[in-house]
């Protein structure tokens, strides 16, 4: 009996290092291979020993699927494939394949060059790892092997983000990765068809939030930025180079144009232009509006936003700076933050989620005195604002997706335990779905409704009528091949002869008339009773009821008695037996 088993190797009940092992009808698939940005030690990567204790990764796993390019979903990939050792296929969409190595390289530089970490993956390893990647199209059914197939759906979250359906026979699992159910300024909304998976594994980052309308949040954001620069303050917006950054740039660009503002906007790393170029080349992955207008005006060519130079940070006067990385855990955004933190006129806007342990998380949770490297203490006087721009589905969105896919059960991951508990109750209440949720290394088991088997029906058994009907046949089972055929066909195929069993009963009747007349009486008698049957009087004097033959004979010794010979085969047993007992009761007196 096939079953589905889910083992979170990373994100069970927390955010960061997403990595989920799914076993479905004997196939093992690893979903995402992320890292945790709040840790600098072993906890940074998922725990692969769960698999490796029993052998090599390549032997165990049938394939690896990466949902999108965020490092908490793909950051451990080179470590996993090149250092732990995996040579099987890795599936991701084209944009993810294009952007993923750049972010990995970025991250490697911060970790190795800036922090001086040893035993980290190298640039070459990133390249070797990417050689194992197989790119998939949206909605393409990829046959991983004879039994395992996967299919990508649009997820919105970031450029190239996808949800994946994993299917073996009639069992299937949908893994959402991160997704977004409302279209934003550059991406469309996630969508899935009514694929009715046995299990839906969904992220639940914003499980408890039901966010106000996108427009309100945008207005809020613009108001805060505008107010700060008006009073001469500097605005720092820590972002990741790809994704939210592009959306906020489009937002500010149009606002600046409308308000005719002259305050400079900068984007910190050299990656920007390149990043925007990716967006231009992958226009089909953006939202409807951008796709429609890109020939006239490419939304990713910004007029007001210029490249940032490190020296600009000390310039007097207002400015807006987008700087990477997004959680203030390293790099340029952290440097600028340290410079500007002391001035209460300035503002930092955190547009996305921050994992525990990062500076971003600390200041968002209200900490105003930060211990930096070298026991320095940084006092934060600048305003700290959090704007939930990160494109995860909120509770409403998650419910929406569950409604679209109609899964038999739902598994929540990539969220915090308490929030997941809340959402679990909500889904169970409103959608009446069986629900499970997972913590790291917990192994929830999923019993599956299963089909005992499927068979082919052939020849005369082909259904034509729409009404349910009774059907008789023989199931031929050869290896795992099941065929339902008519019994005659089965005998023929096996080279067996049919053995016909026939009965002929003598029924004695008192009737003085000639045998032809007796037969006629029998005929009209049966005809009046057996309304639903085919009763016929044949030219040779015999009577048939369906395939049962009745003949009248006159035994020589007694002219007052006639003998009816009723003859039927074993297949007509019921009717034949019924007829003999019926005739035994005699014929009704003929109406003359």
């Amino acid at each position: 009996m096939p079953e589905i088993r889910v083992t979170p190797l990373g994100a069970g009940q927390d955010v960061g290092r997403s990595c989920i092992l799914v076993s479905i009808a004997g196939k093992n698939v690893m979903l995402d291979c992320g890292m945790h940005m709040g840790f600098n030690d072993d906890r940074r990567f998922p725990d692969f020993s769960y698999i490796t204790q029993n052998g090599r990764l390549t032997d165990f796993l049938d394939c690896v699927i990466i949902s999108h390019f965020h490092l908490d979903h793909c950051g451990a990939l080179p470590y996993f494939s090149e250092m732990v050792g995996y040579d099987g296929p890795i599936y991701m969409t084209h944009p993810t394949q294009a952007i993923c190595p750049i972010l990995l390289e970025d991250y490697r530089k911060i970790a190795v060059d800036k922090k001086g970490e040893a035993n980290f993956f190298t640039s070459q390893m990133i390249k070797d790892c990417m050689k194992k990647v197989v790119a998939v199209h949206l909605h393409q059914t990829v046959q991983v092997d004879d039994e395992l197939e996967i299919k990508a759906y649009y997820a919105g979250h970031v450029l190239g983000a996808a949800m994946f359906q994993i299917k073996v026979g009639s069992e299937s699992v949908v893994y959402t990765g991160d997704y977004n159910m409302t279209p934003d300024r550059h991406l469309g909304a996630a969508w899935i068809d009514k694929c009715r998976p046995n299990l839906l594994i969904t992220e639940s980052t914003y499980a408890t939030t039901i966010r106000d309308s996108k427009r309100c949040r945008e207005r809020d954001f613009l108001k805060k930025v505008h107010e700060t620069v008006e009073r001469g303050g500097k605005v720092l917006i820590p972002v990741f180079a790809l994704g939210r950054a592009q959306e906020l740039c489009i937002l500010l660009e149009t606002f600046w144009e409308r308000m005719n503002l002259k305050v400079p906007i900068y984007f910190s790393t050299g990656l920007t232009e390149k990043a925007n170029h990716y967006y231009k080349l992958f226009i089909p992955w953006t939202n409807q509006k951008i796709r429609k207008t890109f020939v006239q005006r490419n939304m990713f060519e910004f007029k007001h936003i210029k490249a940032f130079d490190r020296a600009f940070a000390d310039n007097p006067g207002p400015m807006v700076v987008f700087a990477t990385p997004g959680m203030l855990h390293a790099g340029q955004s952290l440097q600028i933050f340290r410079k500007w933190a002391g001035n209460e006129k300035n503002m930092v806007i955190m547009p996305g989620y921050c994992v525990q342990g990062t500076v971003g998380h600390k200041i968002l949770s209200g900490q105003r005195k930060l211990e930096m490297e070298g026991r320095q203490v940084l006092e934060v006087k600048m305003q700290v604002e959090y704007m939930s721009f990160s494109a995860h589905a909120d509770a409403k969105g998650i419910m929406q997706l569950v409604g679209q896919a109609e899964p038999e059960s739902v598994l929540l991951v990539h969220g915090e335990a308490k929030k997941m508990e809340f959402l679990k109750q909500k889904i169970e209440q409103e959608l009446r779905r069986q629900l499970a949720w997972a913590a790291c290394t917990e192994t929830p088991q999923h019993p599956c409704r299963h089909l005992a088997g499927a068979a082919e029906a052939g020849d005369g058994l082909l259904p034509e009528a729409k009404k349910p009907r009774l059907l008789h046949g023989t199931l031929i089972m050869k290896d795992s091949n099941f065929r339902l055929v008519s019994s005659e066909q089965a005998l023929k195929e096996l080279g067996l002869a049919e053995h016909q069993l026939r009965f002929t009963c003598r029924v004695h009747l008192h009737d003085t008339r000639k045998e032809q007349e007796t037969a006629l009486r029998v005929y009209s008698h049966l005809k009046s009773i057996l309304k639903d049957h085919c009763v016929q009087h044949l030219p040779d004097g015999s009577v048939t009821v369906e395939s049962i033959l009745i003949q009248a004979a006159a035994p020589s010794e007694d002219p007052g008695t006639k003998v009816l010979l009723v003859s039927w085969t074993y297949q007509d047993e019921e009717l034949g037996s019924f007829l003999t007992s019926l005739l035994k009761k005699g014929l009704p007196q003929a109406l003359s």
Binding site: Q97, A455, L462, L470, L475, H508, E574
Partner: protein, 658 residues
């Protein structure tokens, strides 16, 4: 299973396939060769064209001289050009469930079908097919609408009059059904009925049939289609290419094990090698420009033009032509060039990997950046200011009947320095040129058709081994102009079945199996019996439910409990339902053992007689006779049900039930 052929044009097909309970239209091609019978639509008033003499009958009757004009011995209709539509009468097109589009050239009749036949279904196509198809339609509509023509000729279409006309007008088919071009509104409405699909996506149609597009290697987003149920598979191969140009390579492996393979859209110029033609194109272009002449390339706004630009990108520097301007003039030129760059996922591997750098996949981006290639929506406006000669102009329409190309033919036709190079294979270049005769400019014919040739087809068929091949009749005989070339036709076993316009073809194809799911409760109740090593049988009596074309076997209903006689039962209530069938029997009865068994069960006075085929067992006391033969047993007895049932059960002990 049947195929209805609605278009006679082998590369612009329109067929309807009836398969199981679905009606599927395969492609929606528009035969535009009909426009060759019309006079060109000049953008700028052309004194030459407007002064052509009217045509009159041999007897001098000139009543048609308003509609028909004569030019260098050919007669043309002076009217808005019209297109030859697919058949609309052969089958009720409102019953079509879905339309599958294989490439952007094969969807040009879509607005006629979706807007005017009561069609309510869905159209499936890939994103590049839709986007570029839209551009082709937009260009066509624009070309025709921007030069409004007052006259619409119809007199010549009268059957009695058409007979009197010179050929090819005399032989033109179904002229009464020819239609003018659609409007942009109709195009938009038609395109809104399209649902986008990706390669290898499995699309369920009513649970009965699954359709899947596969890369066909011919154009951006071009596809072949697999139409299959669980046990039958039809492959629709239309416009495929094995050459490495810009699109993703053709997926051949998925075509294997087809019961029927429908083959359309082969190369129209089987004798020309595309690579050689590209070389000839470049050298002729260079020669003309070096002599101070201009080059005109009539073309579609997408497709081969990308490859030609790429060749020129590499060629012009080495040929010392870097300073010669390349102009691409089309209302959709800009869109076409932009769109080509964003469909990386649909391109060949080389181009795809460029996007990862990130760089635009086609080098024409660089040609534009360095100002070597300029594009304009039409000859009006900016173009007239920038225009420098000698130059190379890419513009449409390849039929030379409308579009900016008409202007350049009039402008450059008088000088032998200039050259027109035909690269599109859809129109006969001689016919295209006819209304421009006499012509001084050089004409070079370099048709580039990357679709499959007959050698590739026979290799493909050997590889994928379909049971039956179905194709347009044109492919089952050598081309009329090369009737001795027996190699220029499809050669396969069994011979290909061919169809022609307005014909219905029944395919030799019997549905034999359906997939049925068995409910676990029923499966549990089955008792398999091993008949031969590895083969088991189980008798099944079950209720078959069919819903949404899915079949499910459920346990049969339990026999209803006899209602305790409130009503007096009528005799007919007891009549057994003859649908309750008994299993078949197999085996044979060994007489001696049977007799022993009878004795054991209390029968005495048993007599056995030998007959020709077996034995007769006589139970004298009971006046009963049992005939036993190799594969039959006949029990003849008095009407004693108890006795009969006893004997029956004893016989059954020796037999197997199925």
């Amino acid at each position: 299973m049947k195929i209805y052929c609605l278009s006679g044009h082998p590369t612009l097909p329109c067929n309807v396939l009836k398969f199981k309970s679905t009606t599927i239209m395969l492609d929606c091609g528009l035969d535009m060769t009909s426009t060759l019978n019309f006079l060109p639509l000049p953008l700028v008033q052309s004194p030459r064209l407007s002064n052509l003499p009217g045509w009159s009958l041999k007897d001098g009757n000139a009543f048609l001289d308003k509609e028909l004009k004569e030019c260098s011995g050919h007669v043309f209709v002076d009217s808005v050009p019209e297109f030859c539509l697919p058949e609309t009468e052969l089958i009720d097109l409102s019953t079509v469930d879905v339309i599958l589009i294989s490439n952007y050239h094969c969807m040009m009749a879509l607005p006629y079908i979706t807007e005017h036949t009561g069609f309510t279904g869905t159209v499936y196509a890939t994103e590049p097919t839709v986007q570029i198809g839209r551009l082709l339609m937009e260009e066509l509509v624009n070309f025709i609408e921007r030069v409004p023509k007052a006259q619409s000729a119809s007199l010549w279409k009268n059957k009695d009059i058409q007979r009197l006309l010179p050929s090819p007008l005399k032989d033109a088919v179904e002229v009464s059904t020819w239609r003018r071009c659609y409007t942009m509104q109709e195009v938009n409405s038609a395109l809104s009925k399209i649902q986008l699909v990706g390669y290898s996506q499995k699309i369920e149609l009513f649970g009965a049939v699954q359709v899947t597009p596969l890369s066909s290697g011919y154009a951006l987003g071009s596809s072949n289609w697999i139409i299959q149920s669980h046990y039958e598979k039809v492959s629709y191969v239309s416009g495929s290419s094995l050459l490495t140009t810009h699109p993703q390579p053709m997926d051949q492996a998925s075509l294997k094990n087809s019961d029927v393979l429908v083959l359309t859209g082969l190369t129209q110029i089987p004798t020309a090698n595309p690579d050689g033609m590209v070389g000839e194109f470049c050298s002729n272009l260079a020669l003309t420009v070096r002599n101070g002449g201009n080059v005109l390339v009539p073309c579609y706004p997408s497709g081969v033009i990308y490859d030609l630009l790429e060749c020129l990108y590499q060629y012009i520097d080495s040929a010392g032509l870097s300073s010669v301007p390349l102009y691409f003039i089309s209302p959709v030129a800009n869109s076409s060039l932009e769109f080509s760059q964003i469909f990386a996922e649909w391109l060949c591997h080389n181009k795809q990997s460029k996007v990862y750098l990130p760089e635009p996949p086609f080098p024409h981006a660089e040609l534009i950046q360095t100002n070597k290639l300029k594009h304009y929506p039409s000859i009006h406006g900016d173009f007239s200011n920038d225009f420098r000669q000698p130059c190379v102009v890419f513009t449409g329409h390849p039929s030379l009947r409308f579009g900016d190309v008409v202007h350049f033919m009039e402008l450059w036709g008088k000088s032998s320095l200039n050259t027109v190079i035909f690269t599109e294979p859809d129109f006969s270049y001689l016919e295209a040129l006819a209304p421009y005769q006499p012509l001084a400019m050089k004409c070079i014919y370099c048709p580039i058709d990357t679709r499959l040739n007959f050698i590739q087809v026979s290799k493909l068929l050997k590889e994928v081994q379909p049971l039956h091949v179905v194709c347009p009749e044109q492919y089952t005989q050598p081309p009329p102009a090369q009737s001795h070339r027996m190699d220029l036709m499809i050669d396969c076993q069994p011979p290909a079945m061919s169809y022609r316009r307005a014909e219905v073809l029944a395919l030799p194809f019997k549905r034999r199996y359906e997939k049925i799911e068995i409910m676990p409760e029923l499966a549990d109740s089955l008792v398999p019996m091993e008949i031969k090593p590895g083969i088991s049988l189980a008798t099944v009596s079950a209720v078959l439910h069919t819903k949404d074309n899915k079949h499910l076997l459920q346990p049969p209903p339990r026999p209803a409990q006899p209602t305790s006689g409130k009503k007096r039962k009528r005799v007919s209530d007891d009549v057994p339902d003859c649908k309750v069938l008994k299993p078949l029997l197999s085996g044979s009865i060994p007489v001696e053992q049977f007799v022993q068994t009878l004795e054991k069960h209390g029968f005495s006075d048993i007599k056995v007689e030998d007959t020709a085929k077996g034995h007769i067992v006589l139970l004298q006391e009971a006046e009963t006779l049992i005939q036993i033969e190799e594969d039959s047993t006949h029990i003849i007895c008095d009407n004693d049900e108890m006795l009969r049932v006893r004997l029956r059960d004893l016989v059954l002990k020796f037999l197997q039930k199925f």
